[in-house]
């Protein structure tokens, strides 16, 4: 059985995720399609992603770094997320086995 803290966290994140999906439709007139706020919404994902990756690679050491580089290379070359994840997974497993 999952513990209550885990379930509560998942449901909280889920509620936010559902609210984000519905809010844009419900408040369409209030959601800016141009201007500064819209630009920030468009610019944020890339910057958030690279910040997440930097911390993950730093914290995970060589295994994470090489696995990430392999996944990135896989994505650029194969253009399939599931295949790139497989490449990253195999690379990280190989590095972990060699260390």
């Amino acid at each position: 059985m999952p513990d209550l803290q885990t379930v509560a966290a998942i449901l909280s994140i889920g509620a936010v995720s559902i609210a984000m999906r519905l809010s844009g439709y419900l408040a369409a007139d209030a959601v800016p399609k141009a201007g500064s706020v819209a630009r920030i919404i468009r610019l944020a994902p890339g910057n958030l992603s690279i910040a997440f990756v930097a911390v993950g690679c730093f914290a995970g050491g060589w295994t994470s770094f090489i696995g990430s580089v392999a996944a990135l290379t896989g994505m650029v070359l194969l253009k399939r997320q599931w295949a790139a994840l497989g490449v990253g997974f195999i690379a990280a497993a190989l590095v972990a086995a060699l260390r």
Binding site: A8, Y25, A44, S49, F52, L72, A92
Partner: protein
């Protein structure tokens, strides 16, 4: 879902919600059953590595249903759970749904809300893109949106569950590699977010700010603060995505 054929006009100006559109969307998105299934499975492996039960993992993929938000919150997963940081990260990474939802409202204007709103629970980047493209060819059809969303959701949630059912247990080297999956998931999104050489400066500053934050404030807030600083730099140098 109960669907009534309202109108089935190819290229019609007024939006419709048709069974024919549903079928067309299902067929067009069928390959996602496999690709989302595979990606969902690796996410399930990562959940196993963290010690989450099958019920928790499936619940995660069912109610959150966002690879980006799930990967990011998974990266923050340590007890006591930093729920505020996780929710903030979820809002930041899912802010794009606001824009997508507002666009779908324009596309499906005139259709009853009670019919469209439940379908938005399955809103995904790919189904939104496919629906937008299909609307230009065949007219706006909420049935197509729902039909294209179903294989993606079934693949993702089913794949997460499958990781627990198949005889794959993340121990040793496999456990180490599985712990990389949330990070690798975000890494695979980077090429799609790269907009050319102008990204070097804000992305470098994002990364540096995140590392400094992780060192002195804590890793839970590193992504948010680093991302915010980088977004500010992108904004100031006049970028647009």
């Amino acid at each position: 879902m109960d669907m009534t054929i309202i109108h089935s006009g190819c290229g019609s100006a007024s939006p419709v919600f048709t069974a024919a559109g549903f079928g067309r969307g299902m067929r067009a998105a069928a390959p996602f059953l496999v690709s989302n299934g595979a990606a969902g499975m690796v996410m399930g492996l990562a959940y196993q590595g963290l010690g989450l039960t099958l019920v928790s993992a499936v619940l995660f993929s069912l109610v959150v249903y966002s690879g980006t938000a799930q990967a990011v919150t998974l990266g923050l997963w340590r007890f006591p759970l930093p729920v505020v940081a996780m929710i903030t990260a979820c809002i930041a990474t899912n802010a794009r749904y606001l824009v997508m939802g507002a666009h779908l409202r324009q596309l499906f204007s005139g259709l009853p809300r009670r019919r469209v709103l439940p379908t938005l629970l399955l809103l995904a980047d790919a189904s939104w893109l496919m629906t937008t493209a299909d609307a230009e060819r065949n007219g706006a059809d909420a049935g197509y949106f729902l039909g294209s969303s179903v294989p993606m959701a079934v693949g993702w949630i089913g794949g997460t569950a499958l990781a627990y059912v198949l005889p794959i247990k993340p121990t040793g080297v496999i456990a180490v590699a599985a712990s990389l999956i949330p990070l690798a998931f975000i890494v695979t999104l980077l090429p799609g977010q790269w907009r050319g050489a102008r990204m070097w400066l804000p992305w470098s500053i994002s990364a540096a700010a995140a590392l400094v934050t992780a060192q002195f404030v804590g890793s839970s807030w590193a992504m948010l603060i680093g991302g915010a600083v980088g977004t500010g730099v992108s904004f100031l140098q006049g970028d647009d995505a």
